[in-house]
């Protein structure tokens, strides 16, 4: 069932993507004038600013807040820092930061020097900030060259103990059992925090805090294992929530390998302010691209709370928009891992055929994307045996339709975040299917008059129809109207709106400087 078997109308695909492009371009125009607190903090992090002050507040937060209080932040931290460095002609940013934090420097008293000089310095600062990121990228490329992932679909599992030391043990177990991608999901509260916690953490709920130190700690352990098993096991986390840009930056600095990144998720399921998170997402994807870290998006969530058969098309709509949004940040198709999911009601007659149709449709619409296929969750119950069977069907569709990355279902999905042996059982299940069905995607031709073909076409047509509507009203309006997950979100409301900052003329665009 290689690409092309659904024999979709090529012209229609091109048309659909052009609609996506228009939608993405309009968004870009709307957000261009703005930056956010988190972006400014992220820039400081690119410079290597780290640590917390005497009050336990991260320097990057205290600094940006100070500048905002004084209404200076609209110039952008890049401009402000460059200027200050020149004024005090020092080149130790960290020292400067600490002095500002301790109010040893009165930032309001700083008048501005020659803009050209500032710009040149800024450029240099960014350049060698970015050079560190590029170094990490090269490191990763070498590891991948030396220890490539062979079999597909790649197996992606989640670890979520809340305690980084327990995570470490379980990450190790998962890697040796055969996981290709391992995500440490975040504590439920984190995405609402407007700062990135500091240090190695042991107290999370439903996940573990994403911190620079936690990233480094786990990546080191995985490097050891990777060398041992001659396979570079990839580390995943979430560029998501109010600190999306900072987390993305930290991911590039600590050599994470894949980031879950989707503004839409934050908007719909975390009630983040649409404008804020769209602006953040632009920066995030920009920096991740520089760091050579692909993203995966969260369309799977769109069908977790509403009728998943009727509204499956929203997955396609979002994917087409998401792809264009990412391209506008400089990302290549092979860096854009669009998401979808196996979430139809198991009691649906011929549901399996619809799942095949949908998965194959996604595969054919985005032949170069490292598609992330998500497992059944919402219809899981405490019947762990039936749950394991549902995951088997999911694994089969993943292989039959040549998905690239499959996040493994857990037989205890309805009960708790995965236990160490839940992960074992689901990796075993997936490896069995991957080997026993190895060449299956090459064995069949989909009948033209079959249910699969019919379903695929019906979903795609519906998606195009909706894309037309959205492209004429704009994405923000569509969100207000509740086009996705039956949830209405207003452009001027939601968490983090206060962090949106209009840039003034002095603002130095990192996008331009590179």
């Amino acid at each position: 069932m290689k690409i092309g078997t659904l024999s979709l109308d090529e012209r229609k695909i091109i048309y659909a993507k052009s609609l996506g492009k228009k939608i993405a371009d309009d968004v870009l125009e709307e957000i261009k004038p703005y930056t956010t607190k988190s972006i400014e903090r992220a820039i400081l992090r690119i410079f290597g600013v780290n640590g917390v002050n005497s009050k336990g507040i991260p320097y990057v937060n205290s600094i940006i807040d100070k500048f905002q209080e004084k209404n200076l932040i609209s110039k952008g931290i890049l401009f402000l820092i460059s200027n200050a460095l020149i004024k005090f002609n020092t080149n130790s940013i960290q020292r400067l930061i600490e002095e500002i934090d301790e109010d040893k420097i009165n930032i309001t008293k700083l008048e501005y020097g020659d803009k050209e000089k500032i710009k040149i310095l800024a450029k240099d600062l960014i350049k060698d900030g970015v050079s560190k990121i590029v170094k990490k990228k090269k490191e990763r490329e070498n590891m991948i060259l030396k220890y490539p992932l062979k079999e597909k679909p790649h197996l992606y599992v989640i670890v979520a103990t809340g305690n980084i030391y327990e995570d470490a043990k379980q990450v190790k177990s998962a890697a040796y059992l055969g996981a290709d991608f391992i995500a440490i999901i975040r504590s439920t509260a984190q995405s609402l925090l407007d700062y990135v916690p500091y240090g190695l953490t042991t107290e999370g709920y439903g996940g573990t805090y994403a911190t620079q130190e936690n990233f480094r700690f786990i990546r080191e352990i995985l490097d050891e294992v990777s060398k041992d098993i001659k396979k570079y096991v990839k580390l995943v986390n979430y560029s998501s929530g109010l600190c999306m840009p900072e987390i993305s930056t930290l991911a590039t600095l600590e050599r994470l390998d894949l980031m879950v990144n989707d503004a839409l998720y934050g908007i719909l399921f975390r009630n983040l302010n649409p404008l804020r998170t769209m602006i953040d997402q632009r920066f995030s994807r920009f920096i991740l691209h520089i760091g050579g870290i692909p993203i995966v998006t969260g369309e799977d969530n769109l069908i977790k709370t509403i009728d998943s058969k009727e509204f499956y098309y929203t997955v396609i709509v979002s994917q087409i928009i998401n792809e264009q949004l990412a391209k506008n940040c400089g990302m290549d198709e092979n860096e854009i891992g669009l998401g979808h999911a196996f979430e139809l009601d198991p009691n649906l007659e011929n549901g399996f055929l619809y799942e095949i149709a949908q998965a194959q449709l996604v595969r054919e619409l985005f032949p170069n994307s490292p598609i992330k296929f998500m497992p059944p969750t919402r219809y899981k119950t405490g019947n762990i045996f039936l749950s394991h069977v549902m995951d088997t069907l999911f694994n089969i569709v993943a292989n039959l339709t040549d998905q690239e990355i499959q996040l493994l279902g857990m037989l205890t999905e309805a009960l708790h975040t995965p236990l160490v042996h839940d992960r074992y059982l689901s990796i075993e299940n997936a490896k069995y299917i991957r080997n026993n069905l190895k060449s299956i995607s090459n064995e069949f031709i989909i009948k033209d008059d079959g249910i699969i073909k019919k379903r695929a076409v019906e979903v795609f047509d519906k998606a195009v129809e909706k894309l037309e509507e959205i492209s004429s009203m704009g994405l923000f309006k569509a969100l207000e109207k509740g086009y996705f997950s039956d949830t209405k979100r207003l452009k001027e409301e939601g968490r983090g709106y206060e962090g949106v900052i209009k840039k003034d003329d002095d603002y130095l665009e990192i996008y331009d400087l590179l």
Partner: protein, 251 residues
């Protein structure tokens, strides 16, 4: 014979064979962990223990699947099942009761508390659409509902309660890892006491791991678990409000 009927054991394929299936992980490597596993089964009072599968799952963990025999008997003569599956009248009957016995609107505030973003459960109870064909609370003329949605911090909720003056407060908790739901729920009932609001309201929580027993422990009037139907909740609310006459505590 009588006895057999009075004393019960698990049934595999013959009465009283007592067969039980177990699985768990020991944080030690094989073969040592095998001995630990055996002792655990013994500690549970199972005999004929049979380790049917064992697997080293790396970094010092071993997984076991075991069958064993439960040797004791449960004396069922001692068991009384309290009928919590009491038959719920249908939508219209409940509305009728509300009209006749209450007359005025019942004010309800609802949210998912703390960092919990799971709304599907609460919405299934509140939204008109309801759950498995059973109308949600919004459909009942007698209810006036303010749904604050998800991830509501305790302080904010308290503020809202003081403003809105509800008769009923509905709280949903889905994430239970490290018992965060217990922390969240307890903190709320404490704050309500502190603010002298507790006795003004009927306090109800729900979520797939909530039980009535648990709810009582945490200082709630009632708790609803997995597969709750809105009508169960509506009927409970109506009866309780009347029983405790909680209808004009704010005036």
């Amino acid at each position: 014979m009588k006895d057999k009927e009075k004393f019960i054991r698990p049934y595999g394929d013959t009465p009283d064979d007592g067969i039980i299936q177990i699985s768990f992980t020991i944080p030690l490597p094989l073969p040592f962990s095998r001995e630990v596993a055996k002792r655990i089964v013994k500690e549970m009072g199972l005999s004929d223990e049979n380790i049917v599968f064992e697997k080293d799952i790396y970094s010092g963990f071993s997984f076991f699947i075991i069958y064993g025999k439960f040797n004791k008997y449960i004396d069922i003569s001692k068991i009384k099942v309290k009928n919590n599956e009491l038959t719920i009248p249908d939508f219209f009957e409940i509305e009728k009761i509300m009209e006749e016995k209450i007359g005025k609107k019942i004010k309800i505030i609802a949210c998912t508390l703390g960092s919990d973003a799971h709304t599907v459960g609460l919405d299934a109870i509140i939204n008109a659409k309801g759950y498995n064909g059973d109308n949600g609370l919004e459909r009942y003329k007698g209810f006036e509902i303010l749904n604050l949605g998800s991830q509501i911090q305790h302080e904010l909720l308290i503020k809202k309660i003081q403003e809105y003056k509800p008769n009923v407060v509905l709280i949903s908790q889905t994430v239970t890892q490290k018992n965060i739901h217990l922390k969240n729920l307890t903190l709320l009932s404490e704050l309500l006491e502190a603010e002298n609001l507790r006795d003004k309201i009927l306090l109800i929580c729900g979520g797939y791991k909530i039980t009535p027993e648990l709810a009582h422990e945490l200082g709630y009037d009632m708790g609803f678990g997995a597969n709750t139907y809105p009508s169960q909740v509506a009927y409970y609310i109506v009866n309780e409000l009347i029983k405790r006459n909680l209808l004009d505590k704010w005036s």
